[in-house]
């Protein structure tokens, strides 16, 4: 039984079958990659997992509970954090504040009218956030304006914001999209580091095979909205169905 169980999920947009009978099981403490050509339904699947889209049928169970019909903030409170394709951070706030906000969310829940305390008196939260920033080597930038960070640092910050919540599942939506090789490698190292330091389940949606093969323990190949195979990286490489999905009928 995996921590995330997707069963028989269907989603249509008008005449287009975006997802057809998707089954997926992500095991605890593994890095699970979902790959597939453009338009294979990867993003649609992800959006169904985080509450942005509602599947037409099927079930999505996380940690024994259904996530369907819940709002994004409720799903996050269940323990799923999400990293976006382009880093989504609080650009107008300082780096430290960016990391403190998820700490508050974790401690106080989705809403609390804590207007009588001051941020300065929240030493625990501040400590957690600073500790996290040290973990991702950004402690020296903590008073910077988050919007003025480099793209790589923004990605780092976003990961820190997700990790500080200690999620049971971290969803990464093409974390290296549009990055230069060096940045991509940095991100891979960062993710490996994160994985080495703590028990965490990750689900990566990715284009870049280099990233996938460096990180993933299990790989699901999605094509035209349906999973083709689920295998270990070694077995995926030469798999005929995968070659077919990526290269079409033409044989190389």
């Amino acid at each position: 039984m995996g921590i995330l169980e997707v069963k028989g999920v269907n989603k249509r947009f008008g005449g287009l079958q975006a997802l057809g009978d998707v089954n997926l099981s992500v095991k605890q403490n593994t890095v699970h990659a979902i790959i597939g050509p453009n338009g294979a339904g990867k993003s649609t699947l992800l959006n169904c997992l985080v509450g942005k889209l509602m599947p037409d049928s099927g079930s999505v169970m996380f940690d024994g509970q259904s996530v369907l019909g819940r709002k994004p903030h409720e799903i996050n409170q269940m323990g799923i954090s999400r990293v976006f394709q382009t880093p989504e951070i609080f650009a107008d706030l300082s780096v430290l504040e960016n990391v403190m906000i998820p700490c508050f969310a974790r401690r106080d829940g989705a809403f609390r009218l804590h207007a009588y305390e001051t941020v300065g008196s929240e030493r625990d939260i501040r400590g957690q956030a600073e500790h996290m920033l040290e973990d991702v080597n950004m402690a020296d930038k903590r008073h910077m304006h988050a919007g003025s960070l480099s793209r790589g640092d923004k990605r780092r910050l976003e990961m820190a914001m997700c990790l500080v919540q200690e999620p049971k599942l971290l969803l990464l939506d093409e974390p290296t999209a549009g990055m230069a090789r060096a940045d991509t490698n940095n991100t891979i190292d960062l993710l490996k580091e994160i994985k080495a330091k703590r028990d965490i389940t990750m689900c990566i949606i990715e284009h870049d095979m280099h990233v996938v093969f460096s990180l993933a323990e299990r790989i699901t190949v999605l094509a035209q909205g349906t999973p083709l195979v689920e295998e270990t990286p070694e077995n995926i490489k030469g798999h005929p169905k995968v070659r077919e999905a990526y290269l079409g009928e033409a044989q190389v």
Binding site: V50, K71, P72, H73, N76, Q77, S81, R82, F84, E88, I89, F90, A91, D92, L93, E97, M100, I101, P102, F104, A105, R106, D108, G109, A110, F111, R112, L113, H114, A115, Y116, E117, T118, V119, G120, S121, E122, I125, M161, Q165
Partner: protein, 401 residues
Amino acid sequence: MLGLERRDLTILIAVAVITLFAPIILNPFPTGSALAQFNAGYPDLMQRFVIFGIFAIGFNILFGLTGYLSFGHAAFLGIGSYSAVWMFKLLSMNVIPAILLSIVMAGLFALVIGFVSLRRSGIYFSILTLAFAQMSYNLAYSVLTPVTNGETGLQITLSDPRILDGESSGLPVTSLFGAEMRDTTTLFVGPWSWDFSVGYYFCAALMLVAFYISVRIFRSPFGMMLRAVKSNQQRMNYTGLNSRPYTLAAFVISGMYAGLAGGLLAAMDPLAGADRMQWTASGEVVLMTILGGAGTLIGPVLGAGFIKYFENIFSKINDGILHQWFAFMPDGLENFVVAVIHPFIGKGWHLTLGIMFMLVVIFLPGGLVEGASRVGRVFRRRDRKADHVESDAARQRAAAE
């Protein structure tokens, strides 16, 4: 102290000192001198400074922190005024129950209007709030006449029950446990005269409380969440935070501030009219906040003071005064200058206001506070340049040795 950091405490103390001595500070020119018309230290105007200060401080909690631009906040001001006058009519001329009711009623209306309006954001939110305010205004003028007394406005009369107060011979006045709001002590020092009014100090005290609460909100985790709403609502939701109750809380708080301001307006002068709810009045508080600096602590207070001061001064100046000022010029030039300035003064004050509004939005989106800090930065940079020169010289010396 007071749970504030040193910088905020300094600001609070500075504001407190200024409001305390405002009757003196705002009357720098001797009575009867030519410049006395620039004095602003009379109770009526000072009361407006602090009351609209409260209004703008509250508006800033919503607009400055969350970025939600409400175009209907005057509705809460009006509701506050009506509630207060009804309290004066029914219960007592004491201002405390009146103001409490103002805050509560404005808060309730804000809860309902906010709950509906906050389901949309951006320009849709602005239009929804505008629609609600216009609805309140139109209703206050027409069907709700039994409650609002329509065009005439709601006033106190001799025949009102006022169950807590005894019979009174004349039309009673608002008071705080016996201290009449209109009581003023005038102090004469040499050619100067300073008015210390009970009403002003009552409003000023409440403004300080309001300001203190707003500082606490700005520095609280709640305030940080509100800034997060403005910055990136998507990230906020995916961080497990529900932005809706945060924005609603901000909306209600700022509505209560507006209600307090409306209640105080009525406490100083017990009448309430529908024009207080018109959307131009909503525009005015937006202007105050922007002019001072939205999202800054002190900005709204500055903006409110600035606008109310210039409104007062500009509307008082007339051609006669202008001719006096420019009397030193040759006649032709004098007439020309007066003719050029004429459209901007007196009844033309709104023109000046509109131009100021545009200039601020175009050139100084951060308002007066940002302007001041820009000026400050220029000076500091000069200092640093001087430092650079020195350190360069030191380095050259070191290299030479």
